[in-house]
C-alpha cells in the first residue's frame, strides 16, 4: 500500500514525488483508511444478505446457531482481541525502534492468527462431518458414533430430557453427544496452547460463558429438534461470512510474515514504521468484523 521503498542504507527516504516524510506518511495513511472503507463495504454485502434473511426468516437462524459452539466462538474472539493488542503494541515498538520487541509482537500476533484458524478448522471439520454445509452441499447426517463436535456442553447436558419427544434423526445426534464433550476439550486445548501466554486467560473468560450458557437453554430444545424450511440458508451465510473473514486472516498472516522479514532485514531501524502501522490497521479491521460475526452468528437467541 504505502508509497515507500526504504532500505536501511538510505534511511528514511522520501519518495521523489513527495515534499516530506509527513506528506508521504499521511498519504499512505489516508490511502489505507480509504481501503479499509472499501473493505467495510465489501463485507457489507454479506451483512446485507444476513440482515435480509435473518429479519425475514428468524427461525432459520435460531435453529442454525444451535450447531455453532458459543465457547469456540468466544475463544476466537478473545484470541483476536489479544492479537489486536499485540498488533497495536508492535506499532508502538516500531515507532520507538524497539526492534526486538517489535519482532516478538509480530510473532505473537501471528500465533494468535494461527490459533484462530486452528479453532476455525475444528469447527469447519465438525460441520463437514455432519453435512451441515452451504445450500449446495447441505445434507445433515447425524450418525450415532460421531458427535456433533460443535454443539457442545450446555446444550448437550440437557439431551436426556429432550430425548423422549425428539424425533429419531435429531435424536441420534444428541445421544452420541455425551462422549463429545471430552473430544471437544481435547481439540480446544490443543488450539489454545498455540499462543501459550494466554491460554489461561482464554479459559478464564470461558468460565462465565459456560456458566451463563448452562443456565438458559431449555426453551430452545424444541427449536433445535424441528428443522425449519430453508435451514441451509444459515449455513450458507455462516460459511460465506466466516470464510471471507478467514481469507482475510490468512492475508494478515502473510502481511505479518512480510513485516517480520522486513524487521529482520533492519528496515525499521530507522523509525520508519509506516508499513507496520498500515498492516496493523488492516488487522484491527479484521478484528472489528469478527466482533460482529461472533455476535451475529453464534449468539442468536
Amino acid at each position: 500500500m504505502a508509497g515507500h521503498a526504504t532500505t536501511p542504507q538510505e534511511g528514511l527516504r522520501v519518495d521523489h514525488h513527495f515534499e516530506n516524510a509527513d506528506q508521504q506518511y499521511q498519504s499512505a495513511k489516508l490511502g489505507m483508511w480509504v481501503f479499509l472503507a472499501t473493505e467495510i463495504l465489501f463485507f457489507g454485502g454479506l451483512f446485507v444478505a444476513y440482515a435480509v434473511y435473518r429479519s425475514n426468516h428468524p427461525e432459520v437462524f435460531i435453529f442454525g446457531h444451535h450447531f455453532l459452539d458459543k465457547n469456540l466462538g468466544a475463544l476466537n474472539t478473545i484470541i483476536l482481541i489479544c492479537s489486536s493488542l499485540t498488533a497495536a503494541w508492535a506499532v508502538r515498538a516500531a515507532q520507538l525502534k524497539q526492534i526486538g520487541l517489535l519482532k516478538l509482537m509480530l510473532v505473537l500476533t501471528m500465533l494468535c492468527a494461527f490459533g484462530f484458524m486452528g479453532v476455525k478448522a475444528v469447527e469447519y471439520n465438525a460441520k463437514w462431518k455432519h453435512g451441515l454445509l452451504w445450500a449446495g452441499s447441505y445434507d445433515p447426517h447425524l450418525d450415532h458414533d460421531e458427535p456433533i463436535t460443535e454443539s457442545t456442553t450446555d446444550e448437550e447436558l440437557q439431551v436426556p430430557g429432550a430425548e423422549v419427544e425428539a424425533e429419531v434423526a435429531s435424536q441420534a445426534q444428541r445421544v452420541g453427544d455425551a462422549d463429545l464433550v471430552e473430544s471437544e476439550v481435547v481439540s480446544e486445548s490443543t488450539v489454545v496452547d498455540a499462543p501459550t501466554d494466554r491460554s489461561n486467560i482464554a479459559s478464564a473468560a470461558e468460565g462465565p460463558t459456560g456458566l451463563a450458557g448452562a443456565g438458559e437453554h431449555g426453551p430452545d430444545e424444541h427449536a433445535i429438534d424441528i428443522e425449519p424450511a430453508n435451514a441451509q440458508t444459515f449455513f450458507s451465510i455462516y460459511f460465506l461470512m466466516t470464510g471471507l473473514h478467514g481469507i482475510h486472516v490468512l492475508g494478515g498472516i502473510g502481511a505479518f510474515l512480510w513485516l517480520l522479514w522486513c524487521a529482520q532485514r533492519g528496515d525499521f531501524a530507522t523509525g520508519h514504521f509506516t508499513r507496520v502501522d498500515m498492516v496493523a490497521l488492516y488487522w484491527h479491521v479484521v478484528d472489528l468484523i469478527w466482533i460482529y460475526l461472533f455476535l451475529l452468528l453464534y449468539l442468536i437467541e
Binding site: 500500500m1 504505502a2 508509497g3 521503498a5 519518495d15 521523489h16 514525488h17 513527495f18 506528506q23 499521511q26 498519504s27 499512505a28 489516508l30 490511502g31 480509504v34 481501503f35 472503507a37 472499501t38 473493505e39 463495504l41 465489501f42 463485507f43 457489507g44 454485502g45 454479506l46 446485507v48 444478505a49 435480509v52 452451504w134 445450500a135 449446495g136 452441499s137 424450511a229 430453508n230 441451509q232 440458508t233 450458507s236 451465510i237 460459511f239 460465506l240 471471507l244
Partner: protein
C-alpha cells in the same frame, strides 16, 4: 527507482528540449513502459488498452446491428446473438467506459493539473493497470471458452443456470473492479495530499472535482460489485443459495446487490465526462467558467445521490410499491445537479469568444446529446411511464444517449483537447471536424430511432422481432455504419498525427490550468519548478505568442511556487 531519483536531482528536465528529453523518450524498451511508475506513461498505456477494448466492443455492436437488419436470422444464430450483446455490454462497460476517462486522461492530466510530479501512490497506480490487464485477459478469455449469454447484468437465476462461461467473465469483472477501486483511492489521496501552494479546494480545476467525485463512487460502490460477483461465482461453483431460488435464495436480492453498484457506476461513467466539459467549454469560449461552486458542488451532489436511486432499475421486478415510490422520488433528485451543470455551461458561453475547434465541437454535441439523454431519463424515472418503457429499446436509447452521447463524446473531446499535450503533435483539424460531424449524425440516426421503437413496445435483447419494427431497425443499423466510418477516420488522422503531425506548442488552446505550463510532451518530471496555482479559469492571464504559435502566461512567475527550484 533509484536512478530516477538521481535524474530528478540536478538536471532541471523542463529546461531541456522537449523533443529529445520528454516522458516518451525517457527510458527505452517495452519494459520501461510496462513497469514504469510514471503516471503519464501509465495513462498512455491505459489509453491504448482502453481504446482497444472500445474497438472490440464496437465490432460486437456492428455485428449486432447487422444481425438486426432483418427479423430472424440474418448473419448469426440466436445463441451467438445473445453472447454478442452480452460481450458488447460487458466489454464496453467493464473494460472501456468505467476505467475510461479516469484511468487515461485522469492519470495523465490529474497530477499535471496539481503541478505535482506524480500521483500519491505510483506503485498502486501501476498495480491498478496490471489488475486491469489481468481482469481484461480473464474476461476476454471467457469469450474463447464459450462466452457468456446472460446480458452484462448477470441476472440470477439465469446466470446461475446457463452453461456458458459466466464464472470466468464475472471473475474478470471482479478483478477489473479492484483496478477501478485502486485508481479511485489513488486519486482521492493525491487530490487531498498533493495540491500545490495556492490551490484551495475551490481553486481546483473542475476536472479535478469531477474526478474526485468519481473516485468517491469508485471506492464506496465498487466493493459491493466485488462481493456480488463473488457471491455469483460461489452460487455457480458451490451453490450457496443466496440468489438462487431453487436453493431457497432470492433472485430479486441479487438485483438490489447489483444495482447498488451499477447505478452509481453510471455516474462513474458520466461524472468524468462532465469534468472534461467544464474545461472545454471554458477554454474554447475564452471565458471564466460560470458558477464554479455550483458546478463543483453538483458533482459531489451527484456522487452522493447516485447511491440512493438504484431501485429505479427494479420498478417492474416485484419491488414493493413503497420502495418504488421512494426510489422514484430520489431518482428525480439526481436530475437537478445535472441540469444545473448544463445551464452553467451555457452561461459560460455567454459573451464569450467561441472557437469551434474539434474539442469544442465535441463539447457542443455533448450538450445536444446529453440534453436528450438526460431529459429522456424523466420518462424512466416517473413510475407509470417507466412500467411501459422498462426493458424496451427506449431504455437502450436513453442509456446510449447518456453514455455514448455523453461520456464517449466528452472523452473524444478530452482526447482531442489533451492530445497535443500527451504526444506533442497537432492532428488535422479539418479531418477532426469531418469525423466529429459523422459521429454526431451517425449516432443520432442509430439511437433516436430506438426511442421510437422502444416506446412502441420493442423489447430489448431481442434476436427476432415483429415485422412492424423492421424500418426502425434498418435505419438504426445504417446509422451505426456511419458512426463506424466516423471512428475509422478519427483513428486515421490521430495515428497520422503521431508521425507527421506538426509540433504542438506548450499551450495550444490558451487554457490556464497548470498542465499547460509545462512543455508538450511534458518532461519525465513534469515541471522544472515547484508550481503555485492561481485561478484555473483566469484566461485573461494568457496571451497569444506568435513565436511559439501557442499561448503563454503574461506573468510566468505567477505560477511559480515561492519555494523556487524543484528537486
Amino acid at each position: 527507482m533509484a536512478e530516477a531519483i538521481e535524474k530528478s536531482v540536478g538536471a532541471g528536465p523542463g529546461g531541456s528540449d522537449p523533443d529529445t528529453d520528454n516522458y516518451l523518450t525517457h527510458g527505452k524498451g517495452v519494459l520501461s513502459w510496462l513497469f514504469t511508475l510514471d503516471h503519464k506513461r501509465i495513462g498512455v498505456m491505459y489509453l491504448v488498452a482502453i481504446l482497444g477494448s472500445f474497438f472490440l466492443g464496437g465490432v460486437f455492436a456492428l455485428a449486432l446491428r447487422t444481425e438486426l437488419w432483418t427479423p430472424g436470422q440474418t448473419i448469426m444464430t440466436a445463441d451467438t446473438y445473445n453472447k454478442m450483446f452480452t460481450l458488447h455490454g460487458a466489454v464496453m462497460i467493464f473494460l472501456f467506459i468505467i476505467p475510461g476517462i479516469p484511468a487515461t486522461l485522469g492519470n495523465f492530466v490529474l497530477p499535471l493539473m496539481l503541478g505535482a510530479k506524480d500521483v500519491a501512490l505510483p506503485r498502486l497506480n501501476l498495480a491498478s493497470f496490471w489488475l486491469w490487464l489481468t481482469g481484461a485477459t480473464v474476461a476476454v478469455a471467457s469469450i474463447i471458452i464459450g462466452a457468456v449469454d446472460t446480458g452484462w447484468t448477470f441476472y440470477t437465476p439465469y446466470s446461475t443456470t446457463t452453461t456458458t462461461a459466466v464464472t470466468a467473465m464475472t471473475l474478470g469483472a471482479f478483478i477489473l473492479g479492484f483496478s477501478s477501486i485502486f485508481t479511485g483511492l489513488n486519486f482521492i489521496v493525491t487530490i487531498h495530499k498533493m495540491r500545490p501552494e495556492g490551490m484551495t479546494w475551490f481553486r481546483m480545476p473542475l476536472f479535478l472535482w469531477g474526478i474526485y467525485s468519481t473516485a468517491i463512487i469508485q471506492v464506496l460502490a465498487t466493493p459491493v460489485l466485488g462481493i456480488t460477483l463473488l457471491l455469483l461465482v460461489a452460487e455457480r461453483t458451490l451453490g450457496v443459495g443466496i440468489f438462487d431460488p431453487s436453493l431457497g435464495g432470492d433472485p430479486v436480492l441479487y438485483q438490489h446487490f447489483f444495482w447498488f453498484y451499477s447505478h452509481p457506476a453510471v455516474y462513474i461513467m458520466i461524472l468524468p465526462a462532465m469534468a472534461i466539459m467544464s474545461e472545454l467549454i471554458s477554454t474554447f469560449s475564452g471565458k471564466h467558467i460560470f458558477g464554479y461552486r455550483f458546478i463543483a458542488w453538483s458533482s459531489i451532489a451527484i456522487a452522493l445521490l447516485s447511491f440512493l436511486v438504484w431501485g429505479h432499475h427494479m420498478f417492474t421486478s416485484g419491488q414493493s410499491s413503497l420502495t418504488n415510490m421512494i426510489f422514484s422520488a430520489l431518482t428525480f433528485s439526481v436530475a437537478i445537479p445535472s441540469a444545473v451543470k448544463v445551464f452553467n455551461w451555457l452561461a459560460t458561453m455567454y459573451k464569450g469568444s467561441i472557437r469551434l475547434a474539434a474539442p469544442m465541437l465535441y463539447a457542443l454535441s455533448f450538450l445536444f446529446l446529453f440534453a436528450i439523454g438526460g431529459l429522456t431519463g424523466l420518462f424512466l424515472g416517473s413510475l407509470s411511464t417507466d412500467i411501459h418503457l422498462h426493458d424496451t429499446y427506449f431504455v437502450v436509447a436513453h442509456f446510449h444517449y447518456v453514455m455514448f452521447g455523453g461520456t464517449v463524446i466528452a472523452f473524444l473531446g478530452g482526447i482531442h483537447y489533451w492530445w497535443p499535450k500527451m504526444f506533442g503533435r497537432m492532428y488535422s483539424e479539418r479531418w477532426a471536424q469531418v469525423s466529429a460531424l459523422l459521429v454526431f449524425v451517425g449516432f443520432n440516426l442509430t439511437f433516436f430511432t430506438q426511442f421510437v421503437m422502444g416506446s412502441h413496445g420493442m423489447p430489448r435483447r431481442y434476436y427476432n422481432y415483429l415485422e412492424k419494427f423492421t424500418v426502425y431497425h434498418q435505419a438504426s443499423t445504417v446509422g451505426s455504419y456511419i458512426l463506424a466510418v466516423g471512428f475509422l477516420i478519427m483513428a486515421g488522422y490521430l495515428l497520422h498525427s503521431l508521425v507527421a503531425g506538426e509540433k504542438a506548442p506548450a499551450n495550444p488552446w490558451g487554457a490556464a490550468t497548470l498542465e499547460w505550463e509545462t512543455t508538450s510532451p511534458p518532461p519525465y518530471y513534469n515541471f522544472a519548478h515547484e508550481m503555485r496555482a492561481g485561478d484555473p479559469y483566469d484566461l485573461d492571464a494568457m496571451r497569444w505568442d506568435p513565436a511559439t504559435g501557442g499561448y503563454v502566461r503574461k506573468d510566468p512567475s505567477s505560477v511559480l511556487a515561492s519555494s523556487g527550484e524543484a528537486g
